[in-house]
Symmetry: C2
């Protein structure tokens, strides 16, 4: 629990999202993909309150950083809401520049997507994703697949099933 929790006890939880601790492991990807996430900072928010059905991160992308590999989930829905800066949303069908107050949603088994910060200012956004059992992630531009294990951890392999 953050030391910034306000109120009279754990049942009055409220925090300054920007002061939440960053995720301990910056990226779950194997190399060389983890290094490609350099600069990205994810602050898990939902976990601080004991939420289990979905995750909420406050994520900061400095100039040049990207949100993730180009990907799509099989069962997880995702949603982003831009708070600061102007990220470029890249999907398989095109690109669009976003700005604060704009949002986007990515239903399970929909279009692959990721965000890029091509500007000289930081981008900050909220990202939400549920934790549906049996979720898998496809990466159309990389030789990688991921599967969510029953322990809640992601397992990555190459597309031919070999470890990576």
């Amino acid at each position: 629990m953050s030391s910034d929790v306000q109120g009279t006890g754990p049942s009055v939880p409220a925090i300054d999202a920007a002061a939440a601790p960053p995720r301990v492991k910056p990226s779950n990807y194997p190399e060389p993909y983890a290094t490609m996430m350099a600069g990205r900072v994810k602050r898990p928010l939902g976990d601080l309150f004991g939420l289990r059905n979905f995750g909420v991160n406050l994520t900061r992308l400095p100039p040049g950083a990207i949100s993730a590999l180009h990907h799509v989930h099989s069962r997880q829905d995702e949603f982003i809401f831009v708070l600061e800066g102007r990220p470029t949303l890249v999907t398989g069908d095109g690109e669009v520049d976003l700005e604060p107050g704009r949002c986007a949603g990515f239903p399970a088994d929909g279009s692959a997507h990721h965000l890029e910060n091509r500007t000289e200012a930081d981008v900050v956004y909220l990202e939400i994703g549920d934790r549906s059992a049996g979720d898998e992630v496809s990466y159309p531009r990389d030789d990688l697949v991921a599967a969510l294990g029953p322990d809640g951890k992601w397992r990555f392999t190459r597309k031919d099933g070999t470890p990576c």
Copy 2:
């Protein structure tokens, strides 16, 4: 789908959240509770993108408005992130004033809660809740219970099970 969708097609969805259409039925509560939600405007965002596992609303509370009856879900986790204004978060154990950038989470079967706008300026926040099957809502301050039906609709009764 909003007419404000940007991009090259439905697979590049991005909208101005504040321009999303308000929910057609302002409140699902039976009377007299529905009237108590006067002024509250919920703009469903996740539904616009075809998300099914969780809902995201951009909700505006004018001065004097409240977010909901004091309540707690049995299975649904909830999360709020304040974008504008200074709502008061009320739980069974106390109250705390929030401000933009502060967030709070309400795990299933946790502490009952709601927000009140006791200020003279509008409050705007994002609210997220999953759609776990079999969810029920308890209202410790009101003679009301709600159960989520298999059709995704809420059914309200008094605490003795009679219709209301």
